[in-house]
């Protein structure tokens, strides 16, 4: 298993191996699931209370479906760990964070200093997402 390089949570990582979305439906005791780009994240919504870890796989970084999957889960109130795995690169980290990912297990380890710089690059954001950061418009109008 690829190591989790960055984690922005304080709780204990889930121990169970992640199962596929298909087998998750059958294995009623599974608490970790792995989403592939073609999977519909919404099928997990009825089961969020028993999920502790969702891994979202990025086989190639240019396939952006995982960003929507992550946001959909967070918008539905999922509060467990959301881990980006696979072709996870420095310059996608900030976008991934904003879509609700809170841990990262890149296939190839990232340069830690570059990763930190990339995550801190933009002081403000134009659009609100699920990360709780107020949008620039909210600051402009005293709504944040």
């Amino acid at each position: 298993m690829v190591e989790t390089q960055l984690r922005f949570r304080d709780d204990e990582p889930a121990g169970d191996p992640a199962v596929t979305v298909d087998s998750f439906g059958e294995q009623t005791n599974a608490s970790a699931v792995r989403i592939e780009p073609g999977d519909d994240a919404r099928v997990l919504l009825p089961h969020l209370d028993r999920i502790r870890l969702v891994e979202v796989n990025f086989p190639v970084f240019g396939d952006g479906r995982g960003y929507s999957a992550a946001r959909i889960l967070r918008e539905a109130g999922y509060a467990g760990e959301l881990r980006a795995v696979g072709d996870v690169l420095i310059d996608q980290l900030a976008f991934l964070r904003r879509c609700g990912f809170d841990s990262f297990a890149p296939e190839h380890p990232l340069n830690a200093a570059d990763a930190e710089a990339a995550l801190a690059r933009y002081p403000e954001v134009y659009s609100p997402t699920v990360d709780g950061r107020p949008a620039i418009w909210a600051k402009r109008h005293g709504l944040a």
């Binding site: 952006g64 929507s68 570059d114 990339a118 933009y122 134009y126 997402t129 620039i136 418009w137 109008h141």
Partner: protein
């Protein structure tokens, strides 16, 4: 015009720093080209046949004179003294060095400009009506809505790795001057019977190898839900757009394959959900932006008369000047299509001259048009002659707006690595062939693409020319009957293709058929629509030439 506040400025400044860092990592080898590619593309940097090309965003085509001057200075400092204005209201430089690209972005940031998302599979620069704020037929000025979209789409975390590029256009008139229905999302700002503003959404248009005209999926989205609705359109596309084949990856294919009704149903369901997420900027934000697009202080009781005694000036007036909404003012279009020139090209000196004229005569504003020309939107009628004289001296006075010489052409094989054929020399030959006859032929929109990607809008030309590769030889197909705007239609191929000389002759024959058949007041397109393809085909492929 929109003015950056400290937030906007901080965003572009951070972008410059980020790109500098990315270029550093590329040059020291820690970023592979394959990983760097999408990053440089999101900053508008393409690797072309001979050099890097940089595409700079001109949001909704609006510039002030300081920005325009900077564009001229960049052409001098980092390119070979030229800039190329594009059909997406942007400007491109064709001879850029990778090491210098971060410095160019830093220069741009000094005048509130950038190259963010001018390329890549993300939401591109939003385009608009080049006459926005100056024309009488608009419901409102569409640019504040486009600016709202610019901010929303900038670094959108969910939509930066879409199946394919994504282009949006916003208009607010029934007369469509922005080819709105040939965009991934076209928005028309409308007013309903109750007097409220809303956004009509047209989704799934585009050119390329499978041209499609966008259907309307919602005729009235309340204006304070426009961003949320856009987000819903994009999310359905990001999740379900095809990623197996890049030629089928545009949203038009998704809308087509699902059917408009099913796509709309999915968007509406996503929209209902997203409305609970509070992602829409408040109306106060729209008001803040709108205030910056308020009319300039037009003078009142100005003289309406224009002295037409200079015949050359009169021809230019009749071609390149439109009616303005304010009495005493006019809209001037500067043609970047001199006879035999490269469509859309301007020298650094010409760019700076246009900037000076804008400052002196047009309340410091210019526009780039999708037909690759420049507009001075607010010129006093009393100043028209002075403006024309200065333009004419600089080679910018060609009186051919919407005439056969006002050709849209893509870079083609002279610059583009995807090209099958050259576009620029064909444009030059056609414009030379018809020099002096443009007025007689009247309105005729001719558009040339060097390959099926259709960057030159050939599908939407009254006459379209498409470069194809025939057994390793450059070959050109001819299309007739395309149009963009309120009467959008796609052109039809006449038949077998031509070589470079042959295509110019074929265009000549097509115009002869038109001239022989036109009835009072008909444009080329009208005659074509009335008499159909057959007479044109007969003449074009007749053994003995006309």
């Amino acid at each position: 015009m929109y003015k950056y506040d400290s937030y906007d400025q901080a965003m572009v400044d951070a972008r410059v720093a980020e790109f500098r860092d990315q270029v550093r990592r590329r040059l020291d080898g820690s970023l592979a080209e394959e990983q760097f590619r999408p990053l440089r593309l999101m900053n508008g940097l393409y690797l072309q046949l001979h050099a890097y090309m940089l595409r700079v965003a001109v949001p909704y085509g609006t510039l002030n004179s300081a920005q325009m001057t900077m564009l001229g200075d960049i052409a001098d400092k980092y390119d070979r003294g030229y800039g190329h204005f594009t059909t997406r209201q942007n400007i491109q430089y064709n001879w850029i060095k990778l090491e210098e690209a971060p410095d160019i972005l830093a220069d741009l940031a000094k005048v509130e400009m950038h190259a963010i998302q001018t390329s890549g599979n993300c939401i591109r620069n939003t385009t608009s009506d080049q006459y926005a704020g100056a024309i009488a037929d608009e419901v409102v000025d569409p640019r504040p809505y486009a600016e709202l979209i610019r901010q929303w789409s900038t670094f959108h975390p969910e939509f930066s790795f879409l199946p394919r590029k994504f282009k949006m256009a916003v208009i607010a008139s029934d007369t469509d001057r922005a080819a709105m229905r040939l965009h991934d999302i076209g928005i028309q700002i409308v007013r309903n019977d109750a007097g409220e503003l809303g956004a009509a959404f047209y989704v799934g248009g585009g050119m390329g190898r499978t041209p499609m005209i966008a259907p309307c999926i919602n005729a009235f989205v309340p204006i304070d839900q426009m961003i949320t609705y856009s987000e819903a359109c994009l999310r359905v596309y990001n999740r379900h757009g095809r990623r197996d084949n890049k030629y089928k990856a545009r949203i038009k294919i998704l809308v087509h394959e699902l059917g408009k009704d099913e796509y709309t149903r999915q968007v509406e369901a996503e929209f209902a959900h997203l409305l609970t997420q509070n992602i829409e900027p408040p109306l106060a934000e729209l008001e803040r932006i709108k205030a910056q697009f308020a009319d300039p202080p037009f003078e009142i009781a100005l003289d309406e008369t224009v002295d037409r005694s200079d015949p050359d000036f009169a021809v230019w007036l009749d071609n390149n000047v439109q009616v303005h909404k304010a009495p005493g003012y006019a809209i001037v279009t500067i043609s970047l299509k001199p006879v035999g020139g490269i469509p859309g090209d301007a020298s650094a000196d010409q760019i700076r001259l246009m900037a000076r004229l804008a400052k002196r005569y047009s309340f410091d504003e210019l526009r780039v048009t999708h037909a690759q020309n420049i507009v001075l939107p607010h010129v006093r009628k009393a100043d028209l002659h002075a403006v024309w004289q200065q333009l004419d001296e600089a080679g910018l006075g060609t009186p051919n707006l919407d005439k056969i010489g006002d050709i849209i052409a893509c870079p083609g094989l002279d610059y583009c690595s995807l090209a099958n054929a050259r576009s620029i020399p064909v444009a030059q030959k056609i414009s030379e062939r018809f020099a002096g006859r443009e007025q007689e032929i009247g309105e005729l929109k001719l558009k040339i693409s060097g390959c099926i990607n259709a960057c030159g809008h050939h599908h939407a030309g009254h006459i379209g020319i498409l470069g194809v590769d025939r057994k390793g030889v450059e070959n050109y197909q001819l299309l007739l009957g395309g149009s963009e705007g309120a009467d959008t239609s796609l052109g039809t191929i006449t038949g077998p293709g031509f070589n470079e000389e042959g295509i110019v002759d074929a265009v000549e024959k097509a115009t002869s058929v038109y001239l022989a058949n036109r009835q009072d007041g008909e444009r080329f397109l009208d005659t074509y629509r009335r008499i159909g393809m057959a007479p044109f085909k007969d003449a074009i492929y007749a053994k003995d030439a006309v």
